[in-house]
């Protein structure tokens, strides 16, 4: 029985389910553990969202469900909390900076790298730019202070040229640039590979035809190369715009220091400070829920936008 191919079993026949399962039960058995995992660790936590509407009482052994409802109290508190708005604004500023400085950089590199004939240099560039992608933000923050601190590489160079030390890490404006720069350092290689792959799959005959017709290199890049990778660019751009309110935890948490909290406190670190460190689980859950809700709406809008522009949706 078990040797029967799946498609030979017609669903209409009596007792088909038994027959179908006798051939395929093993497949369902395989999925059992992963499905239990997904229910327990992906869906069950969603029940915890009610925490945002309850008053959290740490002691007395009461379960989440027995705590008192407070409605939208924590949301109201958040909207009146200047620190929450600051965290939200910082999240947007840091993400927009990543977009403005970090997004075009790998595209430009990929376009010119693609024009290069030497395979060796292309490989070497790819190799060295991709390496930081595999370093943790703990290591990167350590490296950051080795480069930008008062005794770091840049200030050593400035000092040897006779200049004044620049407070890269303690000045709020400089700190943002350091944050963005290290972001580029960490992630440029990854995007570079995506763009290079898109460029490799381009049809070279178009560019050759343009060359024979007398187009200059810049003309060929602008009118032939760029339009061919436009779908990749717009998909990645829309994805990043859709994530503009969500921010990872590791990067801002490791990059911040006590002197720049004003510009470095973002939603993810705010939730950690208030909730897990400060014990205000209810308030932090409300802030987190607000962020997730706005995030989902933005992703849906971004997805719609990308479909409208004739691109494949990202969902």
């Amino acid at each position: 029985m078990s040797s029967k191919p799946l498609r030979e079993i017609t669903p209409k026949r009596k007792g088909w389910l038994k027959q179908y399962l006798s051939a395929t039960w093993q497949l369902y058995a395989m999925m059992l553990i992963p499905i239990i995992y997904i229910i327990c660790f992906k869906y069950k936590p969603m029940l915890g969202i009610v925490m945002a509407f309850k008053k959290y009482t740490p002691f007395g052994g009461r379960s989440m469900w027995e705590m008192n409802w407070v409605g939208f109290q924590w949301f109201k508190e958040a909207f009146n909390d200047s620190l929450f708005w600051k965290a939200l604004a910082n999240t947007l500023i840091l993400n927009l900076g990543d977009l403005v400085f970090g997004f075009p950089f790998p595209i430009i590199l990929a376009i010119f790298l693609n024009e290069l004939r030497s395979d060796k240099i292309r490989k070497a560039t790819q190799l060295s730019l991709y390496l930081p992608n595999f370093l943790s933000w703990v290591i990167i923050s350590g490296i950051t202070s080795q480069i930008f601190a008062a005794s770091g590489l840049l200030n050593n160079i400035i000092a040897s040229l006779g200049g004044q030390a620049v407070p890269f890490l303690s000045n709020t404006i400089w700190w943002r640039f350091v944050y963005w720069m290290m972001g580029i350092w960490q992630s440029a290689g990854y995007s570079l590979i995506i763009y290079l792959a898109a460029l490799m799959s381009n049809d070279p005959s178009l560019s050759e035809a343009a060359y024979i017709d007398g187009a200059t290199r810049m003309q060929r890049i602008w009118h032939i190369t760029v339009p061919q990778i436009m779908p990749t660019i717009s998909t990645l751009l829309i994805m990043q715009v859709g994530k503009v309110v969500s921010i990872s935890f590791d990067r801002p948490f490791m990059m911040r220091n006590a002197l720049v909290t004003d510009v470095a406190q973002v939603i993810s670190t705010f939730v950690y400070d208030k909730g897990l460190k400060g014990g205000r689980f209810d308030y932090a859950a409300a802030v987190g829920l607000f962020q997730s809700a706005v995030g989902i709406v933005l992703i849906l809008i971004a997805n719609k936008a990308s479909k409208k522009m004739g691109q494949e949706g990202i969902i």
Partner: protein, 303 residues
């Protein structure tokens, strides 16, 4: 050849109707030079840390060290290895990384193999059930409460179970399994193979490159991850290399802010610790970067 010289020649070349060979050569030369420079700049931060770790304290304080060690010595490494059971932490981190990659890979294969069957009943329902979790993230606090409900706080399981499978990677795995010809399965089934055996002896060997790539990605994300350790672990004997390093770096940040020269941990010892934590990655990177590059592509063509 000066930059302005090259720039003006580039301009001539662009306005010309045909590219002559000399202009093309200059173009290639300029951009080769440019990209070598970019590559060097990209690894300078790493070189800097390594050179500080091998330099003498005096040279560091005087600001004489740039990207090459001055007053070469290995004292910093002896000190770094002595403090806080560094070697023990390293072995624990490696074990944790291997365990995590193993668990993740098993879960991913077990889920992806059945879902790769085109005629599996409820397959699309289960698929949607998985994909939804990529977009509905309950948030830090509900996740923490859930891990606490399972009594995993402050156990090593909190670092292994909550992230035991990535749906994104599962979809990539499923795509790889779909590329296998169905007739192979049919033949095996006629021979009387069980589905488990088909998975293990036919599907898995045929998708080794994808499995290797995904396992590497899982391993790297466990090796580098600190978020769950910060959330779920408070006892330092469960800290990985990253967390041990984080505690040292925190003292760097504070002293850097105050601009003071007296520091808790000397600069070269910190640099040595950073280097030691980077070391496993730096050693394996040249050998496995091919898989990492493939991995980016796998993600880009997910379907």
């Amino acid at each position: 050849m000066s930059m302005t010289n090259i720039a003006s020649k580039r301009k001539n070349q662009d306005t010309g109707t045909q590219l002559n060979n000399a202009a093309e050569k200059r173009y290639q030369f300029f951009w080769s030079f440019f990209f070598i420079l970019v590559s060097i700049i990209a690894i300078i931060p790493i070189l800097r840390v390594i050179s500080i770790s091998f330099s003498s304290k005096d040279a560091i304080l005087k600001g004489e060290v740039f990207v090459w060690p001055v007053g070469f010595n290995t004292d910093a490494y002896t000190k770094a290895l002595k403090t806080g059971n560094f070697i023990q932490t390293m072995f624990y981190s490696i074990e944790l990384m291997l365990a995590s990659a193993g668990i993740n890979m098993c879960m991913t294969i077990l889920m992806a193999f059945p879902l790769a069957r085109r005629n599996l009943r409820l397959g699309s329902v289960i698929m949607t059930f998985c994909v939804l979790t990529m977009y509905l993230n309950p948030g830090t606090i509900p996740n923490f409460l859930n891990v606490r409900d399972f009594n995993l706080i402050n156990t090593v399981w909190a670092l292994l179970i909550p992230g035991a499978m990535s749906v994104y990677n599962m979809i990539i795995m499923r795509t790889a399994f779909r590329a296998i010809d169905d007739s192979l399965y049919e033949a095996a089934r006629i021979e009387g193979c069980s589905e488990f055996r088909i998975m293990w002896q036919i599907a898995v060997p045929l998708t080794v490159p994808t499995i290797a790539t995904l396992a590497l990605f899982y391993a790297v994300s466990r090796w580098n991850g600190i978020e769950d350790q910060i959330y779920y672990i408070n006892s330092s004997n469960l800290y990985t290399v990253q967390m041990t390093l984080k505690q040292m770096i925190e003292s760097i940040a504070i002293s850097a802010e105050e601009g003071s020269t007296t520091q808790m941990t000397p600069e070269n010892v910190k640099a040595a610790s950073i280097t030691l934590s980077m070391l496993p990655m730096l050693i394996v990177y040249p050998f496995v970067q091919r898989f990492f590059t493939q991995g980016v592509m796998l993600g880009a063509v997910k379907g």
